[in-house]
Symmetry: C2
Subunit: 418 residues, 2 copies
């Protein structure tokens, strides 16, 4: 059987599964999630053995230590994955929620009801925990899922999905609630992105390159997640004692994440007071500073920022810095270079705060807080499948509700259109 046939067959199985999934009771889904969580603990050795193969292959291929770390599983990490599923089982089930109900003058009774999306495709890189995590969120919301993980994590992903499928069988639920594309041929991934006849939504989880490839090739509706070139603007009326800890937190608390701060925009009138203590704090964390001429005048070890620095998501101990003469200039700069993820203003001026909130065209716009809070857990959603940077369907942190759609049910008693 060739690639195309295999994918077709997976698509057909997923569609059959979605019709079963959409009518599963919350109780049955939650029971299955806890059984799977248990199975991860009792069968942890299977996962570790498979993961060891991936790690050895990675080491042999000279994989970057940071990537190896993401790929590596341990008893503790498996326990965390298991606990993640338990947490998902405890969240309330959004499926079936009545969103609206209205009656028309002709007597038609219309209900808008939350339903699963159907079949969700997820393409991700080499973090085997995503396999369990993404499955858990999609399963809780009544969706069938087809996963395409990074080839570096293939053995781990196969082990994780096998345990899930075995346990679904024990729970009396179709195994095809989860299917893993185990073919590592890149052509298969490209074909997968064209399966709009079977897959309702495609969610890429990973770096900017992966997301671009998906957006350019998919005929399935895509939810873009991830890339974050996040800004902090320090207004002339900022409180420096709040601003500096926030900047340090947003830049350095965790550097490789999409809600980390990559660029500062500094009002010229506060530059003299701000930049010296800020540079001290950044140096202490070994952050490389790249700024314009007016920044460099004030920070001797700041290097030149090229135009492209302002558009770069470093995911590293590097910060671009730019001065402006007005809040309007700051807003214009940020709207130009931001990826629409998270941007913040530091100010004690309420009018400036309101202007920034209204005019910055990003998913999350902050006043006097760290951009690092853009996160499903920090928002209290109890779960997160990703951070959407597009305007369609969902924006910002995506929890369970964002993995659902709705439909209208209309009850009549013989109405026809005049």
């Amino acid at each position: 059987m060739d690639h195309t046939q295999q994918l077709e067959e997976m698509g057909q199985k997923a569609v059959r599964a979605k019709y079963i999934m959409q009518t599963l009771s919350t109780e049955k889904k939650d029971k299955a999630l806890t059984m799977i969580a248990d199975a991860f603990l009792t069968r942890a050795d299977e996962i570790l053995t498979a993961n060891e193969k991936d790690i050895r292959a990675g080491e042999a291929n000279g994989m970057h230590p940071g990537l190896l770390d993401r790929l590596r599983l341990s008893k503790d990490r498996i326990t965390a994955i298991s606990e993640g599923l338990i947490q998902i089982s405890r969240l309330s089930d959004p499926v079936g929620e009545e969103l609206e109900r209205f009656e028309r003058p002709n007597g038609l009774r219309i209900n808008k009801v939350r339903v699963p999306l159907g079949v969700i495709g997820i393409i991700y890189e080499s973090r085997p925990n995503v396999t369990a995590d993404a499955f858990g969120l999609c399963f809780k919301t009544g969706n069938a899922v087809i996963l395409k993980g990074g080839s570096d994590a293939l053995h781990s992903n196969i082990a994780v999905s096998k345990i899930i499928r075995d346990t679904l069988s024990e729970a009396g639920i179709t195994q095809d609630a989860i299917q893993l594309i185990a073919d590592t041929d890149r052509q298969v991934t490209k074909e997968f992105m064209k399966m709009s006849g079977y897959v309702d939504v495609l969610i890429p989880r990973g770096g900017a390159g992966l997301i671009r490839t998906v957006v350019e090739n998919s005929t399935i509706p895509v939810i873009e997640t991830g890339t974050g070139n996040c800004h902090i603007y320090i207004d002339e009326d900022a409180d420096i004692n709040k601003a500096i800890p926030i900047i340090i937190n947003a830049k350095t608390q965790r550097i490789g994440v999409c809600n980390a701060c990559e660029s500062l925009v500094v009002h010229e009138k506060i530059a003299d007071r701000l930049l010296s203590p800020l540079a001290d704090a950044l140096r202490e964390k070994n952050v490389e500073m790249r700024g314009d001429a007016r920044i460099k005048e004030r920070i001797s070890d700041c290097i030149d920022a090229a135009e492209q620095d302002y558009g770069t998501e470093y995911l590293d101990y590097i910060l671009s810095m730019k001065t402006v003469d007005s809040i309007e200039e700051a807003i214009g700069h940020i709207n130009r270079y931001s990826t629409g993820h998270s941007d913040a203003i530091m100010t004690e001026n309420k009018e400036h705060a309101a202007l920034f909130l209204a005019q910055i065209d990003s998913a999350c716009v902050y006043v006097n807080a760290s951009t690092r809070f853009t996160d499903g857990f920090e928002f209290g959603f109890g779960a997160e499948i990703g951070i959407s940077t597009q305007k369609l369907h969902a924006r910002g942190p995506m929890g369970l509700k964002e993995l659902t759609s709705y439909k209208y049910t209309i009850i009549g008693n013989g109405q026809i259109r005049p």
Copy 2:
């Protein structure tokens, strides 16, 4: 200036316009809409003169009479377009609506606020009324719009958009709230679909071919609208006196529309009672019947339905018909062949109705009513930009709310992530 440069420039203008649009007051937008509605009446001759050019070119090119009718404007049609804008001005403005508000334990105050989508691209066929209509809906919701209409309607579209742009200037609003791509080269349309750096959402309005082209080529998030292979299932427990008028209404009240019925699914146990009077009613409307063997046994002039008939949106006086032995079989058949637009069950059996509502995976699922009600006006939305047949963002009739996104605003007082 070549195509690419022209499109780039339009994209840049649209982005500048969107930042202005998103902060316009409802009052200012409504005032502009009524001024434009007036201008259509006072400058109707300009539109009619331009439309006459399109009509003559269409006739010379042997355009189909049905298409010529869609293309043709008259004083009455222009009055209707003008009244449409007045109606839009009277609808309530969804922008700025607070969707959620919550406070986190760390004191962060999070608001979820409805905002415009930003820049909306609309690609449509040769109906010049769409130019005004789509602009009105996008403008009311604070979006900048780039329109690409059918080349057959080019002169009409230029006239309509010129009147809108002139009047926007008079109202002190950026003309670039609406831009029309007047280049008829197909390559330009393809390039337009790749402008994801400027355009937030692309909405194709037209036939299945147009929509497929957009889905296959666009890198901009698309809302699929339109195609409707709508079914009516006549359950064994149907009331024939309700069912027959509904079938006739859904099939023949207007044949060229996406919510018309294209296929009947008939329970074997009701076939003897239903089919004879139904066939009489369908013959009276000159509807060609195409059925399976059990239908043909009962209707002498019914012709053979090929497999592909069940997947065809005829938009014509043709109806496919299939018998089933159970509601489960009916649901399976409909979920297989439906385009996910609108499907109905005729039954007096509440359990069957509930099963059908739960398991049919379509935007609008009906009990004992005509599928022709799937419409923004019939749903009471006061407007309609199209009927979404996808799961992402919006499903079913799309009114003003469906032309918006949301963002989170987060107010802190120095919070950092621990």
